[in-house]
């Protein structure tokens, strides 16, 4: 069995791919005959835009919506909590500005 490609497109219509290994900024990745420059470091399992995504667009993975873009996203850019939000319940992380609010 040969190694899988650096990016995995889980469904044909998905605008994002999933990194199968850590990717470096500037790395050239070819997926389905299309060449893409990785804009920033992307860790294993994280998502990369495969085509331009408009602000407010619903983003699909495995053909199922996983949230909406909060800004326009260029091909090759990482897609994560900084530019994609839940359509259900906000995501909290330990990143500054994304922590769960403290109550007093």
């Amino acid at each position: 069995m040969s190694a899988p490609p650096a990016l995995l497109r889980l469904a044909e219509t998905d605008p994002i791919g999933v990194a199968t290994r850590d990717l470096a900024a500037g790395e050239q990745v070819v997926l389905d005959g299309v060449s893409l420059t990785i804009a920033e470091p992307v860790k294993l399992g994280h998502k990369v835009a495969l085509r331009p995504i408009a602000a407010g667009e619903r983003v699909h993975k495995y053909r199922v919506p996983i949230g909406s873009a909060t800004t326009a996203i260029e091909p090759g850019a990482a897609v994560h909590t900084h530019n994609l939000k839940s359509d259900y319940i906000p995501t909290y992380t330990l990143q500054p500005g994304e922590e769960f609010a403290e109550e007093h």
Partner: protein, 397 residues
């Protein structure tokens, strides 16, 4: 393979004596008793609260009469609200040896430890005489959970467990998936898989309840590590979690303590009914594992990407590692290296078959990594549920 035949006719894959504290105040004594039996099948479970809770009582009744359990010793301080006599009665009615040690009545810590230790010694001797019986996949109930998830969980371990579930259901077994809080966004996909239209409506109602519950809490079932691992939103995490369920139709919707009545795939509703009370539905993975076990799960399939190390009291936990980097770092804690799929070293089908094969071996007595390392985590907290309706279960054959 061989299991243990209980007086109530159920078949277990382990032969465990549980020591159960009925309030936090009795936990130390219970722990000291269990500590006398290191390396032997004596497990600590318990409920920390002082005030009674019907859910906790039912959970303890189901856990203490679980097929893997040979007998139970209850540790009471003496003044707590837990309905110890009702619990004792249910365990004894199942034909298992059971007793209560009251710390106040016994005269304090040292005497209670001595009395409890003597009881467990006798119970272990009795358990050794439990008759053995042939068991196969059709006798098994298997629960599945994912914890410490990252974006690889939904690519490798969860779909592989889904395939193992397909094999189990085809062999006449019973499979339970849960974490309704981590199925948000998939309401209608799940409803389409319901065995009947009435069940589909129950699933949609259950998911509406789930979303309402988490919106009120203001925080989804989503940890900081999930985002570090590449998951951005709860609905994205849900997609990966959902892959654990495999491809079978959903035969029923159950709640904690309900045992699947017939072969098939079941969804376990873990979200309390009624107004939001008592806080987060399940405060960690072991709270969910305890509920799967209370539904009769003989063993648990646990997918992890970030690298969870937990096991459980009462039922063996098979750890399926989704992330190849995590596996290389923590292989001692893992039973299956599903990250091979991501690196092109195995197919999803191969790992699915490996997981199904491992279910059989663990049911036959093989120790899982977490069992070998002595993991026996357990937690039970306050909740409240109303019973399931008739549309939730398959019609009796």
């Amino acid at each position: 393979m061989e299991g243990f035949l209980r007086a109530d006719g159920r078949k277990g894959i382990r032969n465990i004596i549980v020591v159960a504290y009925l309030v936090e105040c009795a936990r130390h004594v219970a722990h000291e008793i269990v500590a006398q039996f290191r390396g032997q099948p004596v497990h600590l479970i318990g409920f920390p609260g002082c005030y009674p809770n019907p859910y906790a009582l039912r959970m303890m009744q189901k856990l203490c009469t679980h097929p893997n359990v040979a007998g139970a010793l209850l540790l009471s301080l003496g003044c707590e609200g837990f309905a110890r006599h009702r619990l004792l009665e249910v365990i004894r009615d199942s034909g298992r040896p059971a007793d209560v040690v009251g710390i106040q009545a016994e005269g304090g810590t040292r005497r209670a430890i001595a009395a409890g230790t003597a009881w467990v010694q006798a119970a272990l001797a009795e358990a050794a005489a439990v008759p053995r019986v042939a068991i196969g996949p059709a006798d098994l109930i298997v629960g599945t959970i994912c914890g410490g998830s990252d974006a690889t969980s939904g690519l490798t371990a969860n779909p592989a467990m889904g395939l193992a579930f397909d094999h189990l259901v085809a062999a006449g077994g019973r499979a339970i998936f849960e974490e309704t809080g981590e199925l948000i966004g998939l309401n209608h996909y799940m409803a389409e898989r319901a065995a009947t239209p009435a069940l589909a409506r129950e699933i949609v109602a259950c998911m509406d309840k789930t979303e309402r519950y988490y919106r009120t809490l203001g925080h989804a079932s989503f940890a900081a590590g999930n985002a570090d691992g590449g998951l951005t939103t709860i609905e994205e995490k849900s997609l990966g979690a959902y892959a654990k369920s495999g491809h079978s139709p959903i035969s029923g919707l159950i709640k904690p303590g309900d045992e699947p009545p017939a072969p098939g795939l079941y969804l376990l509703d873990v979200i309390p009914d009624g107004e939001v009370r008592f806080g987060f539905p399940n405060i960690n993975d072991n709270a969910e594992i305890a509920e799967l076990i209370a539904c009769g799960s003989h063993l648990i399939l646990f997918a992890t990407g970030r690298g969870s190390v937990v096991g459980s009291a009462i039922a063996p936990v098979i750890k399926i590692c989704a992330n190849p980097e995590t596996y290389r770092r923590m292989s001692e804690d893992m039973d299956v290296d599903a990250g091979r799929i991501l690196e092109g070293r195995a197919s999803l089908q191969e790992v699915g078959a490996e997981v199904f094969d491992l279910i059989g071996r663990v049911a036959g007595g093989a120790q899982t990594a977490s069992e070998q390392l002595g993991h026996q985590e357990f937690i039970l907290t306050y909740k409240s549920f109303t019973p399931i309706g008739p549309a939730c279960l398959p019609h009796a054959a």
